[in-house]
């Protein structure tokens, strides 16, 4: 068509008119089919699971491609919170909300790989090759170095030159297989993440109350009147659990107090924040005890009836100038015999109910804490005196029987050389206030990994066995000695003293471990267990490795060079191994420790002769199984997809390796094969044990018909046990983990229960959701929630009551069900005196009362309390590590490491969604220090300790204050610990490059929270 100029103008005019009309809104209706984006989940398959990161154990709904049809391969494309879950109620924190990017991370491993000695690259291998080579290396090492008998000729069956790190994010069923696998081989250098996080919790809470676990549960926090957050930062580390602290504030009018070196995100919503110098918590807590006693803010009736305040202590116990009685300077240990009760002719503790006897615990405690005045607290902690006193007043208010405070803590208390004693201090305060056993009370140890509670329960620590039984040592040469030393005698008349049943638990464990091979005649296979000489905790094992005394190491779901203290030492240690096996869903720094990553990992691959295997494993979303949250709830979860490419389930990897090793021993013989050959591995597919089978085994079976003393049948042979009261010491029951008995009964999988109906009393208990050890008791020590006569301390918080025949109520009584109120039996049934311990007697290595000692790297020259004893006198420090400690002259600033909300350890850096919200490594410093050093926000800084350096961006903040400590100004450098030289985030440095290899004196959990650094602008 041809257009003339005029025609063109005409057309233009019409066009402009049309456009104008349209612009004015007179458009034709073609574009009116407006709609929101299509809803993407309509027919997707929904699978229930639990978040794999922290111990809140939030419920998640996973949505996968396909509707379940055989021809559709499920791929998880969306995850959101499970609104039915009683704790999370649909919420997920930024880590949980980003789970889908962990499952599909660019760093997910797809197939087995091998790195040859001296090589600078990975090569792909088949599973057959991998299993064959690893089994060969393991067998050769075991045959060469197995210790069947020690120097004294005693059978010890231990293998010390290969160790294993077990993953606390794996399911209980994987954990049970880990235990069988390592112990069958005689491995003692075995630990899980519990060693690096809540080791001190178990060591402190067990001797205080009887069990080493969080006393209450997440939802119960809502019942508190005061929430003290100290040594933890739940808004960042446990955001969804922190929901219930907010709930306490809003619905219960609770006061939320945060005490921390850093004004953190918990402090952002607190009623009161008070700063404290990292490493001075014992002083603060003993100051609180002193205040409560001095101002008579005590729940007197509770203290008299339920604590050991009235028990008399031996006359030769003393404390003087920083040392308790019995110190041996050469051994750097105490002889603890004087730290004990005075006993009468029956072996029972002497008691003065009037609390007037000068040797009663009450008066010794009063004397011990009298030095911890508010002035001393301010001097050592840097906490303003008014803030400290206000906190004391608020806590003191909860000494009223109908008021409770709850303590929330985590690694800020455990990661110290005095970690256990800090937690003990908290336990003592809560006993004095009458807050243990109470709804809204308790010491809530907020555990770390999603199943670290389960891994602790299953005894995946160097010298532990499932159900908090100890692995026999070589000083317990036979079963009788072991049992005699492991079975406590009641220290007061009429006590439940539940550990008197140790033999039943142990024999049932042995029947599960060795099956039919365990008989009365062979002491239930006692000899086949490895016997330890010393504890092979992570720090000791690292030292042995560093000295070249370890040949092989298996890291399952564990990133040791990121997790162990002193990363440079850890890399040097791994470089001296012959072989390293890494089982992980992700690329980790540890599997690539031999690669050069510039300043972040400055090594020469050619010089590293370690053979490295990288085996791809499944993740939470791809398996069935149970994990135990911090509140001891065992929750069952289901797979929503298959593992990617050639990745295998952990159980399948262990099964293949175990069977191949067994085969090699059958074919070739070798160092004592008996434990390996006798280990029960009775699964329908032994190469790939089904989680359901392993879970039932953990619960346990009747191996014969079981009758009560009246001849009534309790359980038929072959039936699953309904609870641990059925366990026998005669070999007629088997249970792999006695505290899990009741988790999978003849009534089915109790861990999969999903009845979230509440208790009807508004206390938030959901006994029909999942299953909780022990015996589905949701609040531990709940007998102490009622007075000795059975009357609730607070009528509005009635957990249990006596119905004339037995205890009943909305919770299962943590007590002998048929022992009436008013009896002699005391509420702490796992302790031989039945009383909460203000005085820990000889249970701990560094004292029955907490005492403040300075961190090994301290800004102070001397401990102002006792200048001659500045450090914890029982701290174990290897010479190699002693040389790597710095002084305040060279490293003037206190440093502390921690987690931030957006990240979970060194894991979420592989998840793109999390990398987006916290892309790059940073450290935090106060404005004063920044001004002194000429550092501005966003500058790159270098932080150096005696052990190495990191570089990071500087966040300059008002939230970290300069504190005056003992007359000296002390600045703090805050170091989040989430980046490394692998990941989707920007490359960074492993923060533990800076931290010292020294542990808590009792549990050897490393000090990550108080050490010295210098900082410079780059």
């Amino acid at each position: 068509m041809e257009l003339g100029r005029r025609q063109f103008f005409k057309l233009c005019t019409v066009g402009v008119a049309g456009a104008t009309a349209a612009t004015l809104g007179f458009a034709p209706g073609v574009a009116n089919a407006t709609q929101p984006r299509q809803y993407k989940l309509l027919r997707a398959r929904e699978t229930r699971n639990n978040c794999t990161y922290c111990s809140v154990g939030c419920g998640v709904l996973m949505y996968s491609l396909g509707d379940g049809a055989k021809n559709a391969k499920p791929r998880i494309f969306h995850i959101e919170g499970d609104p039915d879950h009683p704790v999370s109620r649909g919420s997920l924190c930024p880590k949980g909300a980003g789970l889908v990017d962990f499952i599909h991370s660019e760093q997910r491993l797809q197939y087995p790989e091998y790195r040859a000695p001296g090589s600078d690259k990975w090569q792909r291998i088949s599973w057959e090759e991998a299993i064959e080579r690893i089994a060969r290396l393991m067998k050769d090492d075991r045959d060469a170095n197995f210790v069947e008998k020690n120097a004294a000729g005693l059978t010890v069956n231990r293998w010390l030159t290969t160790g294993m790190l077990c993953s606390s994010a794996a399911s209980n069923e994987t954990g049970a297989l880990d235990w069988r696998f390592t112990r069958a081989l005689g491995i003692l250098g075995m630990d899980c993440q519990a060693r690096l996080c809540h080791g001190p919790t178990v060591a402190a809470l067990a001797p205080s109350f009887g069990r080493g676990a969080m006393t209450n549960n997440w939802v119960d926090i809502k019942n508190a009147n005061v929430v003290l957050v100290m040594g933890g930062n739940p808004a960042e580390a446990h955001p969804v659990g922190f929901k219930w602290a907010i709930e306490a504030k809003i619905r219960n009018g609770a006061k939320l107090i945060v005490v921390d070196p850093r004004f953190n995100r918990s402090a952002a919503v607190a009623d009161l924040y008070a700063p404290i110098r990292a490493g001075s918590d014992v002083t603060f807590l003993m100051g609180v005890v002193n205040y409560l006693i001095a101002h008579d803010r005590i729940q007197h009736e509770y203290v008299r009836a339920y604590t050991n305040a009235s028990l008399l202590v031996r006359d030769d116990f003393s404390f003087d100038e920083g040392l308790f009685s019995g110190y041996d300077e050469t051994k750097q240990q105490y002889d603890r015999s004087s730290w004990a009760y005075q006993l009468d002719e029956n072996g029972h503790a002497r008691r003065d109910p009037t609390l007037s006897h000068p040797r009663c615990v009450w008066n010794l405690l009063k004397q011990h804490v009298s030095r911890y005045t508010p002035e001393m607290v301010t001097r050592l902690c840097g906490t303003p005196k008014e803030d400290f006193l206000e906190i004391c007043r608020l806590l003191g208010d909860t000494s009223a029987p109908d008021k409770t405070a709850t303590f929330l803590y985590a690694l800020g208390w455990t990661h110290h050389t005095s970690g256990v004693q800090i937690i003990r201090g908290a336990a003592m305060i809560q006993l004095l206030l009458g807050n243990i056993g109470m709804p809204g009370g308790g010491i809530n140890a907020l555990r770390g990994h999603s199943n670290i509670q389960g891994y602790t329960d299953l005894g995946l620590l160097s010298v532990r066995m499932p159900g908090y039984l100890n692995l026999p040592s070589e000083r317990q040469p036979d079963l009788a000695t072991y049992l005699a030393q492991s079975t406590p005698k009641a220290l007061l008349p009429g006590q439940v003293n539940y550990w008197q049943n140790t033999e039943k638990f142990f024999v049932s464990l042995m029947k599960s471990v060795w099956g039919d091979k365990a008989t009365k005649d062979n002491d239930w296979g006692f000899d086949w267990l490895p016997k330890w000489d010393v504890e092979y905790d992570v720090l000791r094992y690292l030292e042995l490795m560093y000295e070249g005394k370890v040949n092989g190491y298996i890291a399952q779901g564990f990133n040791p060079i990121a997790a162990f203290p002193d990363k440079n030492k850890a890399v040097a240690a791994l470089s001296r191994l012959k072989y390293l096996v890494v089982i992980d869903p992700l690329v980790t720094e540890s599997s690539n420790f031999w690669q050069n990553h510039g300043e972040a990992n400055d090594v020469n691959p050619a010089e590293i002769q370690t053979e490295v295997f990288r085996l791809p494993s499944s993740c939470f979303a791809e398996e069935n199984g149970s994990i135990a949250n911090s509140g001891r709830w065992l929750q069952w979860h289901w797979a929503g997809a298959a593992p990617p490419a050639e990745a295998w389930h952990d159980g399948k990897i262990l099964g293949h390796l175990f069977l191949r090793l067994r085969e090699l021993y059958e074919q070739e013989g070798g160092a004592n094969p008996a434990p390996l050959l006798n280990m029960a591995w009775n699964y329908s597919d032994p190469e790939d044990p089904a989680p359901e089978e392993v879970a039932r085994e953990a619960n346990g079976y009747a191996l014969a018909d079981l009758y009560d003393p009246q001849g009534n049948l309790l359980a038929k042979k072959g039936e699953l046990l309904r609870d641990f009261s059925l366990l026998r010491a005669d070999g007629s029951t088997a249970s792999f983990c006695w505290i899990f008995a009741g988790s999978w009964t003849e009534a089915g999988n109790q861990m999969a229960r999903r009845d979230n109906a509440s208790d009807g009393q508004g206390l938030g208990s959901t006994p029909g959701w999942a299953w909780c050890w022990p015996q589905n008791r949701r609040i531990l020590y709940n007998r102490a929630s009622v007075d000795p006569q059975g009357k609730p301390w607070d009528p509005k918080r009635k957990l249990i009551e006596w119905n004339g025949q037995r205890w009943s109520g909305i919770d299962v009584a943590d007590f002998a069900a048929t022992v009436a109120p008013g009896s002699e039996a005391n509420p702490f049934i796992m302790l031989p005196e039945g009383l909460g311990r203000l005085f820990a007697a000889g249970a701990l290595g560094d004292g029955p009362f907490p005492e403040h000692y300075e961190p090994i790297e301290s800004p102070l020259e001397h401990n102002p309390l006792h200048p001659k004893v500045t450090f914890n006198p029982t701290t174990r420090l290897f010479d190699n590590d002693r040389k790597r400690m710095g002084s305040a002259a060279e490293f003037p600033y206190v440093a502390t490491t921690y987690s931030i909300t957006e990240m979970f350890r060194h894991w979420t850096k592989a998840s793109r969604l999390n990398a987006i919200v916290q892309p790059e490594q940073f450290v935090e410093i106060g404005e004063q220090l920044a001004a002194q050093k000429g550092i501005r926000a966003g500058d790159t800084v270098k932080v150096t300790s005696m052990r190495g350096f990191i570089k990071a961006k500087a966040v300059v903040t008002k939230r970290i204050a300069t504190l005056e400590i003992d007359g000296k100004l002390v600045d703090t450098v805050g170091i989040p610990c989430h980046w490394g030289f692998e990941g989707t985030t920007r490359k960074g440095f492993l923060a533990n490059t800076l931290t010292p290899a020294v542990g808590d004196a009792n549990s050897q959990t490393p000090e990550y929270k108080a050490f010295l650094v210098n900082i410079e602008k780059v």
Partner: protein
Amino acid sequence: MSMQSQDILKRSATSALTPPTQVRDHKAEVAKLIDVSICIGCKACQVACSEWNDLRDEVGQNVGVYDNPIDLSAKSWTVMRFDEVQQENGRLEWLIRKDGCMHCSDPGCLKACPSPGAIVQYANGIVDFQSEHCIGCGYCVAGCPFNVPRISQEDNKAYKCTLCSDRVAVGQEPACAKTCPTGAISFGSKADMQHLAGQRVEELHGRGYANAGLYDPQGVGGTHVMYVLHHADRPELYHNLPRDPRISSAIHGWKGWMKPVAAVAFFATLAGTLFHYVGVGPNQVDEHADDHEETKA
């Protein structure tokens, strides 16, 4: 096949004389209430938002603050804003505000938008971008009193929070509200959210925040995303939250009173042309003259 919601109350660049389909308007207005006093700034909402909406922004940098990504973008529809404020009593406060679209009752973006149907408001109050109609002119950015929409560098279209219109359409809460660990984000009918806000404000008064209050600015007709602020008298403390947001007068003029005037002028011109044609008739022009001129040229 396209699905029609037929509940469009407002539609960009559309005259009231030819309104969008809207008969299905019997719907409660919804709202999101963000209680800044219990927000821990964890960024779960940021992650859940990106996850639900299949967005993956760039992995950025740390520039010396907690805020990351540092600003809203076409692929980050909500971000947390962190402010450290030393109060007069010496107490430090870390004020953390979730920033994103406020879903105004009188949306400046929609008013400014020249492209028909690129921005709509549903009967439940949600302001949604229909990006296939977006011409990337950026007027919505200028029109927004909260500085929220962002133009994508990849496709030159504007993007922002949809209040999870796809979830709300099927009866679910937005992803951010569901995931919020502390319950700082609530979702429900606007009336319920206002009531809840009242309770929260009362509780905050009891804790000594005498100036606590609800932020539901009337200058934009109220919003479907509201804040509970502990210092409602000083909204600027929260990363410069505007004290009294309004649609700029230029847009009010252009899209407000100017529009009928322009319409009248347009129709008058059209009518004039018509009368001229009928009354006077077309100009007689020798078509060939043109051709000659062309040839000469």
